[in-house]
Symmetry: C2
Subunit: 452 residues, 2 copies
């Protein structure tokens, strides 16, 4: 039993990662008699579920990000350290940030996941994924550059490839991306071009299983598919991607093999654990699963190291039913909060029952007007689902100024279908479009000389 008088040197908690798991742990410890150091390689918390809105030009990165220091500025027991952890020493109880050693009494590892190409890492160049702000800006650049290039292209076959968007993976991110791109093409950009008809855009959503949104109830998958089709999305289930290279996606449906000519391919399929998983395995001997996720104990600690916890997408927690908990924000939040509570209990010499995830449901947005919500006891679709989706997402955006701005942006885009953030930025802004087949540029009508 530890004496909790003020003159005691406080217990040191180190948290690696400022995503949902790490940040919710830190916030839940803000009034505890501990010192907290939160280490992240970025200076902001990112609301990842809305990244697809950045990728499709509806929101700006800052709208869905909150500076970690400002989220935690009132937690006076908490320091934020900007840096990347490259090693852990469980014996000396410290983590290494570059050449700096940061000592801990309790360690919470919450470094999440990155996208995985199932061993085909060369696909990344042709089919970028969506995990960081930079990913979203790159996706946004590709989407809007494709329309620009199509406007200049005179060869109808090449033009069709430029106006074909393939999204690999029919989970929430894939469904939301497909819906947003279809709306972009048929509504937002409709009046903007002079030579192409953007409503001829083809959006394909490829899913390996037999329905989109596999974690949802089957009837909601059907609703989602119907909503996507109403937006013009070509939904292909039971479809495997076997090859991706520049402009060509090869798919397999049963025994059929097909090639799709598409300039823009977006990856919303597999994820794998971040690099900290491997470090933990090497340094502590803990087991990990095929995706690199760390197998955790019922209290989210790792075997033989009761003062090291793993939460969020990096953890494989399979103590409720056989399947590990999914890599979604609510799981990470609840795990972070559980560990924070457990640390405080332990400091009093007490303990907690094992972690239990309370599933409050799943939800996904399809375009700007439809959504599906599966709360277990009730299933919502259409406008009410859309409104509920909006409410939940805004509610969980951490800082109020973001909430307000995002809400207004959404209400605005709901009524106008506008997407103001469709900036093409980045290193190669004007990537030269192949012009071999292009005639000299000809304005729509012939010219008339000016009398000066």
């Amino acid at each position: 039993m530890v004496d909790l008088h003020d003159n005691n040197p406080p217990h040191q908690v180190v948290i690696i990662g400022g995503g949902f798991g790490g940040l919710y742990a830190a916030k839940a410890l803000s009034k505890a008699n501990v010192n907290v150091t939160l280490i992240d390689k970025r200076n902001f918390h990112l609301f990842q579920p809305l990244l697809y809105q950045v990728a499709t030009g509806a929101l700006s990165p800052a709208d869905i990000s909150s500076p970690l220091r400002s989220v935690l500025s009132k937690s006076k027991n908490t320091s934020v350290l900007l840096g990347e952890v490259n090693d852990i020493d469980p014996t000396a109880q410290k983590v290494m940030v570059g050449s700096e050693a940061v000592p801990y009494d309790t360690l919470i590892v919450a470094t999440g996941a990155k996208h995985s190409y199932f061993g085909k890492d060369n696909w990344e160049e042709f089919a970028p994924g969506l995990k960081t702000v930079e990913d979203a800006i790159e996706m946004r650049r590709r989407i809007f550059m494709a329309f620009e290039a199509a406007e200049k292209e005179t060869d109808p076959v090449k033009r069709q490839a430029l106006l074909t968007f393939v999204i690999v993976g029919g989970g929430p991110t894939g469904v939301e991306l497909a819906g947003a791109i279809a709306e972009l093409a048929t509504k937002t950009l409709k009046e903007d071009f002079r030579k192409i008809d953007t409503s001829e855009t083809r959006v394909l959503l490829l899913e390996g299983l037999d329905r989109v949104l596999p974690p949802f109830a089957p009837e909601l998958s059907q609703t989602a598919e119907a909503s996507l089709k109403a937006l013009g999305v070509d939904v292909q289930t039971k479809t495997l991607v076997t090859h991706i290279e520049n402009d060509i996606v090869t798919i397999k449906q049963g025994d059929d093999v097909k090639e799709i000519a598409a300039k823009t391919v977006l990856w919303a399929a597999g994820v794998k654990a971040s690099a900290m998983g491997k470090i933990l395995t090497e340094k502590t001997g803990v087991e990990s699963d095929r995706a690199g996720r760390v197998i955790v104990e019922p209290d989210l600690s790792i075997k033989g190291h009761p003062n090291i916890f793993v939460v969020g997408d990096l953890a494989n927690f399979a103590h409720q039913n056989d399947k590990p908990l999914p890599g979604v924000a609510p799981v990470a939040m609840q795990e972070g909060e559980y560990v924070a509570k457990l640390i405080q209990k332990r400091l009093k010499g007490e303990t907690l029952p094992q972690f239990k995830y309370v599933d409050r449901g799943s939800l996904a947005m399809i375009g700007q007007h439809a959504a599906v919500v599966d709360l277990g006891f009730i299933k919502l679709r259409g406008f009410f689902a859309w409104f509920f989706w909006l409410f939940i997402h805004i509610y969980f955006l951490i800082e109020f100024d973001n909430k307000l701005v995002v809400m207004i942006q959404w209400l605005w885009s709901y009524f106008t279908r506008n997407r103001g953030a469709r900036l093409i930025t980045g290193k190669e802004v004007v990537k030269p479009v192949p012009v071999e087949s292009n005639e000299h540029y000809q304005p729509a009508k012939t010219r008339q000389p000016l009398n000066v």
Copy 2:
């Protein structure tokens, strides 16, 4: 005299550049019986006067940008072409975009200016300027990384250099940057760090002439200087920068030479004409001034080429008094609109009196609460000037959805002093900070082992 019946092939106007000059020309031609092609290397119009708000984390790039296609979507006679013009052929009347030739009857060149280091181009690496969205994001990265590095630095001398910000140039951009950084340090970030006191930040504003805001009335320069000093900015006038290298700015004040140790140096001093100025000089024989600006005729055309116009920052128009018009947005807007009107008059066989700039005043913001406004007949300071500044800037933001969001962001930041967009993004996100002098990282208090 030209016959204007509908079956006539329309007159082809090509505009290079979608800044204030080019965009206002295009908009003023939207109902005219001409075809317009607007060529820009970016797909958006940028509201440059607010770029400093992006650089200091108050606004996002998309808040001050409007997609050119959407601004011009209702101008059915106008096409937008994304690309960079690399040559002009005034004899064949065409411009080259890569290998594409775009023919014109009338050409409007509005490619603006970029920052100039007065021949010391190697300073750019140490003292970035502020002309593009990428510039602003790089400036934002440097500003916020400096605070992060200071938080980690244990050597007090190095820490002071990290907390020293030098802004070169006391024009509106320099004044606005200095005020914003001072407020950031003393207000926004005050509670965010645990080891540094951000209010010890030193912000220096260096100006070569004898007062800041030289184009304004002297009493407003005094007000601006007093407001800056109240915010803690160290204003140094009659100060020349003679050398910039990593961490050191060398200045000359009279005969005194001093060195300032500063990690972050921001350039808000000279500008020079964009590359199109040189192409025009070579291809048409038109004269240019020392800054590369093209000398224009009283009707903004260039000598010997009445169908080529230059407007905005690229033009040197000195027909009203001896001094050329300044490179500010109102000049560019009025020039663009004048040329649009002149083209329409010429098509009717008429003409216009020479261009005359109507100076409606100058304004600058100092921090979030003070501004100076010089309307000629009236001079405003303090809250009214701030409100007026806000109103004018919001009024001229091209698209309404941006206006609404920016207004709310501002009202919010006015009341909370928050700056939500302080993301550190870009290629080298976690630039390793030199740690030679650093001790091993030590949490604020000593540690207490956990009883598990």
